[in-house]
Symmetry: C2
Subunit: 308 residues, 2 copies
């Protein structure tokens, strides 16, 4: 699957991913109003609003970008109707030819991790039939439980040509509390130990020059990004924290390999709520999707300016 | 909410929780057959089978136990119909007076963690209304992202009288890969650093003698359990790994405080698939729920024998 993602990145010349993390407060009033008129102020109404919001943004940007990253928490907060909106978003994005990275940050042990893997990337057996539950192309995975938690994902990835991005160094201010602890035995921080394991796991799932086992390293820690890039030469890095969280294109130069590949940078709020920024305010709420399109173009220019 | 859980534990004299982690292979044929006849071999059919399986076990055991712990992965693997079965299970268990620990192992940063917290423990705002999406009483939380990931859960817990169990030391064989790394600065393993943070977070959410911020420590590491018990005197420990994973009642003595409280031990497969064990085979598949009831009684006796 990483090969397919790379093909799309090369074709669009855009190593970026749009984070479809819709808060209701981002959705323009004309959309929520229509959704609430149809479904009332209900979970179904909220789910309809975020789905219509997503659809408009995907329609306005899908020719420019290789991939989207819906953040499942933003849907899960609306219960079952929210999960249905998540699934609709995944399916719609795939129908538009986009690669879908499910930002689900799951991770458990043994058969439980396998159930997550099967539900999001694989196929579950029901009697004599098999079904894909959510059917994303990639999923993000939390490594705290160790290899027992990650290997079931590898198995499902290898059987279904899918991929994962394992959290290594996250973009948030307190990510260092545990991730930066220096291991006495290994004389390096925990995030580097996770990175070493990512390389090991990745060897079991090579797909061309890169592995289907990618990782997450935040844009907000560029010095660590530089070190991690070298430590994991065949690992694709999914980079959150660009834009709204403070990361800039120039910070990201060292997340890429010499081949110009190796990293894909996410922006969520900076794209989907672009019309709320002063820079794009001329579009107005009515033309929010056009503002998102312009924000995508600006982001591609910023990232490529640094990358090339 | 921990106060309510303790009241239920004292009333039932059973510091145990039944893990509702239904694999289709655990469900007796007469149940799957009926579900497939109604819905076909579909995701809906699978979801109906696990729901009927759960319902029978809950009906047969709810007078004996304080709480259940549905593992969401086992439902999520069946996509949307599976999530609906999860929600039905949560609601049904609450209607029977049980405390519901959602084993969701979520964790993200900032507004994303808040969305998970709101979706599982709180209420989401839709226009002028509010709704509880999944509405468990407790949720399990992954700490890898640090305080940014956990604090949004605290906020929601305090607003809604709910609780969390933070993963400290998990029961699986490879849990030590990262959790046991000795921090050079702190001269103690990572799981103890997480434990210290659990205590700190817990101080913000005291509810009687214990905190609404509990933790997870596997039954399979009794020596670490002993140390962690002392390090976190006011923290309830949710203990997985009993039974099928190898932990025994006698291993668990030191997970309890001198007041006989402080720990709640989970068994999943050992209870819900009891009829498949030789010990309970006389019940047969037809009477699987009675086998589960007997397994609960045996587990209570084993744990209380060690605890008292």
């Amino acid at each position: 699957m990483i090969r397919k993602l790379i093909e799309k990145i090369v074709k669009t010349d855009a190593p970026i991913v749009v984070g479809l993390d819709p808060m209701l407060s981002y959705v323009p009033e004309h959309i929520t109003k229509a959704a609430f008129e149809e479904h009332g102020e209900t979970l179904e109404g909220a789910a309809e609003a975020i789905w219509q919001f997503n659809k408009a943004i995907v329609d306005a940007t899908s020719d420019l970008i290789p991939a989207v990253k819906p953040q499942i928490a933003m849907y899960e907060q609306f219960g079952i109707p929210g999960m249905i909106a998540y699934k609709k978003t995944v399916d719609y994005c795939k129908s538009k030819g986009l690669i879908v990275i499910g930002d689900i940050k799951r991770g458990d042990i043994g058969s439980t991790s396998e159930a997550y893997a099967v539900g999001h990337l694989g196929k579950v057996v029901v009697g004599s039939k098999t079904y894909a539950g959510f059917d994303e192309d990639f999923a993000t995975v939390n490594p705290y439980l160790g290899s027992d938690g990650v290997k079931p994902f590898l198995k499902v990835c290898n059987e279904n040509d899918k991929g994962i991005f394992v959290l290594v160094k996250t973009s948030n201010p307190s990510s260092g509390e545990f991730q930066d602890q220096i291991s006495e035995d290994e004389e390096r921080p925990l995030y580097e130990l996770v990175a070493k394991k990512v390389v090991e796991w990745g060897e079991e799932s090579m797909d061309g020059d890169y592995s289907n086992v990618g990782c997450v390293v935040g844009a907000t820690y560029p010095e660590m990004g530089r070190v991690l890039r070298k430590l994991m030469p065949k690992t694709y890095i999914l980079v959150p924290g660009y834009g709204a969280q403070g990361g800039k294109g120039e910070d990201l130069v060292h997340y890429f390999n010499a081949d110009g590949l190796g990293a894909i940078v996410n922006s969520s709020r900076g794209i989907i709520a672009a019309y709320k920024q002063e820079k794009y305010s001329a579009y107005g709420a009515e033309h929010f999707a056009d503002a998102s399109r312009q924000a995508v173009l600006d982001m591609i220019a910023d990232i490529n300016g640094a990358r090339k």
